[in-house]
């Protein structure tokens, strides 16, 4: 039966801080104190300047859709009722690109480079994951 439950992320030692902040509706990532580059997924040292001085910093939650796909085929029984749904590569304002869902918009209106903003969605049992929804122009 458990295979019919929606899967939850399994944080690694390096991403625990990201996921625990998401439970508080905050999007945090390691920012290099030396050059300001946000490194995500986390690294031992900065990919841009090689310094190892990171602070987990709150992101703006704004970004744009770099690319996306609409799923029609069901690969996991828990998503049987979810198709069709959008999986996207979201580029955050601060640089990192992450996988997420685009929600709150008709499928046909999703486009590349569309401005989006983070929202938090409960998967199950109170566990939140960040998703993205079209940004209001005033916020973009």
């Amino acid at each position: 039966m458990s295979e019919h439950l929606l899967p939850l992320p399994e944080p690694s030692i390096e991403t625990e801080k990201f996921w625990s902040a998401v439970q508080e509706r905050r999007l945090v990532m390691p920012k290099c104190e030396a050059c300001g580059t946000v490194n995500f997924p986390p690294r031992v040292a900065c990919e841009a300047c090689t310094k190892a001085d990171f602070t987990w910093t709150e992101m703006s939650g704004r970004g744009k859709v770099y690319s996306y796909t609409v799923y029609h085929r069901v690969y996991h029984p828990a998503f049987k009722e979810k198709v069709p749904y959008v999986v996207a590569v979201v580029e955050l304002e601060e640089g990192p690109r992450i996988i997420s869902n685009i929600v709150g918009v008709p499928l046909a209106e999703v486009t590349c480079d569309m401005p989006v903003a983070v929202m938090y969605d409960e998967v199950r049992d109170g566990y939140l994951i960040p998703k993205f929804t079209p940004a209001e122009r005033s916020n973009a």
Binding site: P9, T69, V70, R73, V87, I129
Partner: protein, 385 residues
């Protein structure tokens, strides 16, 4: 390395729905390749092989099956780029004096594996379970290869105006080639209407944009050109090879529309002293239709972004400007992670086909391999002796 080494034997296993073990399929292909070369098993002193990624030290298993202790053997882990890299590594091993006659090959039994039971069919996942992503994937319903490649296709459409019909022309051209190949899995003609009306998998990719789930293996035998000239088959010369890996990842920069095929191809052209205009036939890694369009651009057969109109012009057909995937490719012959592309290039350059399958005046073949979480790329240029 130019013109020093040659492919002297090649073969495939049975293809399609075999019910066979992946190692057995590769053993079958390797034994057929040894026969094709007119060699004995004992003449082989190097093995570079690969199969499903959960088989540890694959090359040792193949040595045991062939009954061989060897001077050099290993398994590569560059996904679909490994098969060309195996041929390149064979040349390097022989050049270093580590071996004289190397057999390379890849085998998978994807159809058999994914049709063992209902669960495996639903999941259709070939990556070993413990290597699947645990975050930023399953919780978003992000599974399997089509979606990853669909990101690239969608971005290509957005930046360059590529249309689904363009992807369709790739599928149609390769299907037409498969109909001439009695060993190809797909036997029925495909029309543009069939293509456009097929069920969607992960937009913009529908059923016919996706390569086949099939069983199959292929093998080649590499030795020095000097020795090749004394053997049974007309040697097919290794003119050049190149590799490049966008190791920063598929999501980084513009990697999903500008593939490592570009730098990998430039290296191969440089080694061979050749240019895109010299290529008589291309055998391209066609895991998905859009990947063919992107690679044709990256290899310099047309400008970046013009791949859609290029394939719509009929260039890929047997009498087109660039006959491509002339045995049907992974979309319509069988998906053996680029191995069948090498086999077909060798066969075209031997001029052994009847007129309905033979590329006229085939002198130089370009082969591509792509994979390893979509960022590794290998290129091979072959020619007639």
């Amino acid at each position: 390395m130019r013109d020093k080494y040659a492919i002297v034997g090649t073969a495939t296993s049975d293809l399609g729905r075999t019910g066979m073990d992946s190692l057995a399929l590769l053993e079958q292909a390797m034994r057929r390749a040894i026969d094709d070369a007119g060699l004995d098993v004992g003449d082989i002193d190097g093995i570079i092989s690969r199969g499903p990624d959960n088989i540890y030290t694959h090359h040792q298993r193949m040595g045991a099956r062939l009954g061989l202790d060897v001077r050099f053997s290993t398994t590569l882990t560059n996904g679909g780029a490994s098969q060309i890299l195996s041929v390149a590594l064979a040349c390097m091993a022989i050049d270093a004096g580590l071996a004289s006659t190397v057999i390379t090959g890849y085998g998978r039994n994807s159809w058999t594996r994914t049709h063992q039971n209902e669960g495996s069919r639903e999941k259709m996942e070939l990556t070993p379970d413990d290597q699947l992503p645990k975050e930023f994937a399953p919780e978003y319903g992000y599974f399997a290869a089509p979606a990853t490649h669909a990101f690239g296709a969608r971005r290509h459409m957005y930046e360059f105006g590529t249309k689904r019909e363009h992807f369709g022309h790739v599928a149609l051209a390769f299907r037409e080639h498969a109909l001439r190949n009695p060993n190809a899995v797909m036997k029925k003609p495909l029309t543009m209407t069939d293509y456009l009306e097929a069920r969607m998998i992960a937009e913009p990719y529908g059923l016919y944009d996706c390569s086949l789930v099939s069983d199959g293996a292929g093998a080649t035998i590499v030795t020095s050109l000097e020795r090749a000239k004394t053997l049974k088959q007309k040697p097919v010369v290794i003119k050049g090879f190149g590799t490049f890996n966008n190791a920063r990842g598929w999501l980084a920069d513009d990697h999903m529309i500008r593939l490592a095929a570009k730098q990998s191809g430039e290296q191969a052209y440089r080694m061979a002293g050749l240019s895109p205009a010299d290529v008589s036939t291309a055998q391209i890694y066609d895991c998905f239709t859009g990947m063919v369009i992107a690679q044709l651009e990256d290899y310099g057969f047309c400008k970046k972004g013009d791949g859609g109109p290029f394939v719509a012009s009929g260039a890929l057909s047997l009498d087109g400007a660039l006959p491509t995937n002339t045995s049907g490719g992974q979309l319509s012959e069988a998906h053996v992670e680029g191995m069948l592309q090498i086999v077909e290039a060798v066969r075209q350059l031997r001029h052994g086909y009847a007129a309905d399958r033979q590329v006229k005046n085939a002198e130089i073949a370009l082969v591509s391999g792509h994979g390893g979480n979509t960022v590794c790329h290998s290129s091979l240029l072959l020619g007639r002796a």
